[in-house]
Symmetry: C2
Subunit: 333 residues, 2 copies
Amino acid sequence: MNYDGGKFLITGANGFVASYFIEYLNSKQPAALILGVDTLEEPNCGYKNFQYLQLNLMDKAALSNVLKNFMPDYIVHLASVSSVSKSWQEPVESFQNNTNIFLNLIESIRELNIKTRILSVGSSEEYGEYSESEMPLKEHYELHPNNPYSVARVAQELLSSLYAKSYGLDIVITRSFNHMGPRQKDIFVIPSFIKQLVGIADNSQAGVINTGNIEVVRDFLDVRDVVEIYYNLLFKGISGEVYNVCSGTGLKLKEIIAMIVSLLNIDVHINVDKTRVRPNETMVITGDNSKIKACTGWEQRFSLEQTLSDMIDFQRKNRDEKEASIHRPLLSQ
Amino acid sequence: MNYDGGKFLITGANGFVASYFIEYLNSKQPAALILGVDTLEEPNCGYKNFQYLQLNLMDKAALSNVLKNFMPDYIVHLASVSSVSKSWQEPVESFQNNTNIFLNLIESIRELNIKTRILSVGSSEEYGEYSESEMPLKEHYELHPNNPYSVARVAQELLSSLYAKSYGLDIVITRSFNHMGPRQKDIFVIPSFIKQLVGIADNSQAGVINTGNIEVVRDFLDVRDVVEIYYNLLFKGISGEVYNVCSGTGLKLKEIIAMIVSLLNIDVHINVDKTRVRPNETMVITGDNSKIKACTGWEQRFSLEQTLSDMIDFQRKNRDEKEASIHRPLLSQ
């Protein structure tokens, strides 16, 4: 069988980024055949031309079998246990579910001699500690990973470079900075702000928002810009090269809160919870995105205002749906 | 129970380096209690105050159990599948049997909260490609691992640094250069020279030695010097620090052959097998050993002449024993 749009394998297909990537891919290449794999039994969403398989990438034999049957033209490797804090608690699991699953993937490709292009997604966490004067972080900087998750990501990147240079595999590598967008879980910082502030705006909570350190500066990109970059890298990236995926702009969390407050047109008191302020937290992390721009011609589509506005809408819709679903049993009696 | 000499866990206890380390430890601390673990069913040698357990370090639960029962004061982690060429054939196995086994070890120590000092043995392979003018390699150089084995070793080192700095584990790290000595298997370069040349000297082979590229320069240290350094590092090394373990002197393989030839007092013709000359082989690799000297006060004990002489003696003894064992059935009839 021949598919005009090509065959795309998406690992971590149930995740936040994957959901946007698959939607974007469908919009750009309606004829593309997509196979999503993840550890969950059932996928969260239905997409066009989309097949789903439950697969644990730690099971190399099962993974090889899937690859041999599907013969992907492109692989977007989004599977990861990407929480830094979880990696401190369970370093072995973090390492296996980042480095070892990736090694299983590329080694299976090598053994089966499949001609495919792989997008190896990494993290800005790989850089480790750099001072404010050294920002924005550039791809040529030395990596000083300082948590179990980032060590696992550096190991993944070393394997990517090795397999690209020595075995000739076609692998494009990213170091992705912070993402935000609608549907992001509220364990992450921006959705947690949005949830609290929408609660205040809709009078279901007092006018106080609880935060950690809001003086820190991070580089946030809308997830819809992120997947556009990933898509572009699949076609324009250079094998073995590393690309920062970031906005290039530092945003102070305090400024983001101020913009949400302004969009909601509310008054709030910010309560900084000292127990949530980490003593050695890096104050400023921003990335240089000139390489990705030069390579792909990508320009940022979503302004901060647009992103936050969409996240507010999602939060309200999501809450309404949840409430409807909570009330339904009562209504149906 | 209290052991004056302390309790030492040796992983990879059936290996070449371990055999010398255990002998040296016995000579320095006769009261030390030693537990050796390895994947083989039976240990190769009997030592004083030595217990042996068959253990695969990939089995974290079994490893944790051994650690909990033995409660080592010191761990010398020598277990490794350390062949570069094998790592090209079986990258997953190489990675698991270097990085993952080490992570299982340190994570078990962390979980069990055992106060122990760990020697994490790494490799000069971690440096990757550097030019002749940049020799000798110094510990602060950036690492550019360029084969699966060295990627696995760099990942091990990143984990060592992380666990030392962040979790407070007591881990001293090495980058060990080439070893040589009696009992080393003749798949390695110097023993293979010795085997061929002793064969010539004893007239059981024609006066021709087959080699790969003998213009390459490497940094060789007698295994007995290596284990003396490892022993010293256990007591004087600084946690989280990396130490080159090397002679500081570059030796051209051709010069080593010339010295063996001179010790055996023979004439040989050297046949360089072009198929064994690798096109991109690094010509010169030497290490800077000033850090290890400053830290431990160690001075090299074994001269090249002494080492080669002992290796020649071992080769003759070993061959005689093998022949005796081959002939024994005949004699006993």
